[in-house]
Symmetry: D2
């Protein structure tokens, strides 16, 4: 932290500030300028509380944090990119990973049919919601345990890994029995009880960025899971909320490049939720490959217009097939770049 | 819903759309214009899924919802304002309610001292966090059960009602034993597992608006609690996230007037979180009284500069006293207006 | 500015940074901590360019501005609130000022009728657009010179002062002939050619906050006008753009309190544009009085449902009258507070 | 437009609404449902005023626009993509266009040196600001006429086309003498006096999206220029303002795909302003190529750390060269796609 005192702060006031900083466990070094005194604080402590406390002191002009508030998820802590294994597949490595499937698991026919199709066309994970977060209590809430069982059945028939959402700390154990990756939805990114529970399991977690969460807050939520014991965290950009209404959300695609600079964790792009319109999904998917995401998670449904949720943004089978064909040369360039990076590193 | 077809939609395509609407349980009436056909859909069903399904059909130009997606919380359902009783105090009635106390319960001395002071100066509820949602895993997480016990002790010594946050469905029962009102924080406004659990208890709930939640989504989350059995819901505006950084959040004060039009539920303003700066709290508090909030929830700490959280936005004792004095004539006008409304209604 | 160097910066690198700071005209004083060196820069120069230049240097960790980027409009420069006189009426003084009238000047009958009514019910300025900024080229663009003449006629008949918008530096001279206050719309808050032209005239200017402008940027735009020679600037909060769609804009009412802390310039609230719905205007107007705005600017139309623009947010005559009656006791409290402040200061 | 009446609207009230719609020049056709009456309005008129007028009528539940508010810039008006020629170069055609150069023209040496370098490495236009919009009146405001002359000199020495910003309608003629493309900055996107002036010249215009402007508003501003006589408009996505602070703006990359669906006008991406950090520019540039932008505009400076503006986001010469090398295979894929589209169309 750097603390800048007001112009006419007295010696006694400066000493009071230094004492406060020391109470929070930091070492102090101060510097007298012509106009004002500047104080540096070094060490480990509850930075936020310390900053707030200092800003509450009348003689303090400004208190600024210098170092990042997260540690284990940072590139400083681990300079090389992390590879995370789920069901034998590596995420964050040399293969671009595609996760595909319906928004909700609706029936055996629907999920098995979809699983077979996406497996044949390049997906390595099947997505599908058994527990569904819905804005309205009157909307379809998911098949729950039955949905998990259908996903497991699809896995056995196709060999695909399973990724599915968990919404409550009470369900973490149950979902972890069936899923290869536990997905945390945007609305739960700061459900800290849930994050702590995820820290205690032995399964990879994909953490979606909250609708109005900063990149730093996303990393802090990932830090929660890692600090509580589970270092297998995958990040996901799925669009943020802005004033624009042509798309369901606004994809902050640059966040992928920023996350690659700040963190060693893999990053997945969700072009379905980011756009909310199927016609835009393939174009945004290409952009995601080009900017260096580690994979895509895409909604696919045998009959999008009959889907119980997210019909407007789900690709049909033929659209998914066309998208995968369209992406192929971009994925080839992506692989070249990954191999080149590995050689350099 | 109103569905507008594309210009050159054929009769068969129009019929297909009508069939889809009927599958979702609605009645259909269509109207042929010079340029395009417009279809109306009436009834009760999963509106969101139906709209998404229709928008996924190529011949549909636009599908628009007409009626509000919530029911029990609406003014249409209950035209008169609701009064909610907690610990014998009425919220939403003829008394302006002040809830005050520290961000976190830190110690016996701190909470008892604060409770006594705010009780003497016009508060009827004591606020204080025992379970704390913190962005960083390294920040103070609250005293938890010990905090709840200290709140209960403060209640017994002062007669104040207790409002405190619950963060997980697993803790709802425990917190309900100690608190008169359960507070749901902004980050949990769409924690649907928690909302459902709150529907099953016999205690009032104060639901804070999410940082990037619309007014409609706030009402939908309240509808969750009511639809699951608990109609004692209080709403709270605490600022939303925007690009502005001079304040911690941007107080959407108009939301209070909008909520009063759309819903019968009481609305509380939190000027502490809305501003993040204690110097702004009294001015925003006045505005809250003037616009017709049913009460305020305010952070007060015996030594704000030593607080373990939210020091910068907490009022000191003398500042709280001054604010209450400053508010008094505005609250007197507020009461006159309430009484006048009651006479008119 | 405070510049924090990276951990392992060498002496040569530190010296290079100090040289760069000196090139921008600042004095340097540096301080060696245990972990890193911190450099302070004092003086007057192009702060933004200097900060950007420093952040472009690889050995710099962070460069932070300490003092505000504006000067003449700040409370530091002028601790007492400014009173600005227009047509003999003081804004920022002991009288709460109401500006009222239609969005657009449409006809002689409309503007004269409105002027008479609002003059009788407490307004001291007539608002009305002669030059209209419209999102679409196909919308009504205003009566232009004819509109200005009608406003002038209304002034002569009622004695009201005139406030009207100017949209181009080319029109500043013309509008200044007819208007007592020149209004700058939200879309032109950073039209720097226009701001410079306004600096050269001898008429008060009311500067509306841009839809996505920060409070700091609003003050910087006011600084443009003052720095170019015209110190008679009035600020106006009219709502900012957020994700919320229930209201046309989101009123950042706290901005009024923030502006009162940071600047000596008067601040007006526009509850009509801030809400976009007439039913919400009176409630927000009360909040504006309570938080300490210096006045309101409100849209009033003899027949809102026939207005050529902004019909949905315009008050009818009887609604304006009711609002003024409703506001009266709040304005009485406002005056008491102003007089008390004057005594204290 | 579609107008939905309130449930218990009387025949007389419905007729009143129909009359109002006809007054605005539309034809009416109404349809009686079981619950409410729905009215359709067809024709050409001032849609916004009509909608606002209708929403101001008490018996109207909702009034919704169906067709887009712009015409000439839409794909419906012109299904094939437009190619715009500037200085002999086609934008929107089969060649990916790169515009590069410094934020501000600072000196002869700086601009000539930069022009030569970017010309050698694949740019076809030189960018450089002579008139600079700066938030602060104390920042460098550009070399103005001298800057224009230096740009012209650079053009003669290198053969590059020139793109530079114009900030006021008064300067449009002057800038058009020197520039091949006139750039409109984000802050002026709704400077309607300027847009009208641009409609009257015979030079292409590049219109940057406003910081908080919707895609629809961007198209409406383009419509202004076209409706006033100049159909040579190029659109530019440069990031929007959100709550995220890791980047200077948030690049709404999906807007490029949306604009390609809605409009025939070419779209350029500005990854420099969208990110504000040079390390992120190449990655975002790749994403821009992949999603189908027609070109990039990039800030390049011989000594970014000495730049008078935007140093932090400017590429050095070697970084620009590396970026162009990195982009080459993506541009090759882009060309294949363009040729394939042309064959299909």
């Amino acid at each position: 932290m750097i603390i800048s005192m007001k112009r006419h702060a007295t010696k006694a006031e400066i000493e009071e500030v230094c004492d406060r900083i020391r109470e929070f466990g930091y070492k102090v070094h101060s510097s007298e300028g012509e106009e004002r005194v500047i104080i540096g604080a070094v060490g480990i402590g509850d930075v936020t509380a310390c900053l707030e406390s200092l800003e509450a002191m009348p003689q303090v002009e400004k208190a600024v944090r210098i170092s990042a508030p997260y540690k284990f998820v940072s590139r400083e802590f681990r300079p090389a990119k992390s590879q995370i294994r789920a069901d034998g597949i590596e995420i964050g490595g040399d293969e671009f990973v595609v996760m595909a499937g319906p928004c909700s698991v609706e029936s055996e026919a629907q999920i098995i049919e979809t699983a077979r199709f996406v497996a044949q066309h390049g997906a390595s994970f099947l997505r599908g919601g058994a527990f569904k977060p819905r804005t309205s209590p009157y909307e379809f809430q998911g098949l729950q345990l039955d949905g998990l069982k259908l996903l497991y059945q699809a896995k056995q028939e196709t060999g695909l890994g399973i990724i599915t959402e968990v919404m409550s700390d009470a369900d973490v154990g149950l979902v972890a029995e069936y899923a290869d990756i536990l997905q945390i939805g945007a609305r739960n990114m700061q459900n800290f009880a849930l994050l702590k529970a995820l820290g205690k399991i032995n399964r990879p977690v994909m953490l979606k960025r909250g609708m109005s969460s900063t990149i730093k807050e996303l990393l802090m939520s990932a830090e929660y899971i890692v600090a509580h014991g589970n270092s297998n965290v995958i990040l996901c950009e799925r669009g943020i909320r802005t004033f624009e209404t042509e798309t369901r959300n606004t994809c902050d695609i640059t966040a992928i490049a920023v996350l690659n600079e700040l963190s060693h964790l893999p990053v997945i792009l969700d072009p379905s939720h980011a756009t909310g319109k199927r016609s835009l999904v393939p174009a945004l998917g290409r952009a995601g490959v080009a900017i260096g995401a580690d994979g895509l998670i895409v909604e696919v449904h045998p009959h999008p217009e009959k889907a119980l949720s997210d019909g407007a943004q789900s690709l049909s089978f033929s659209q998914f097939e066309a998208m995968m064909r369209d992406l192929a040369p971009y994925i080839a360039l992506w692989k070249q770049a990954r191999v080149a990076e590995a050689v350099t590193a």
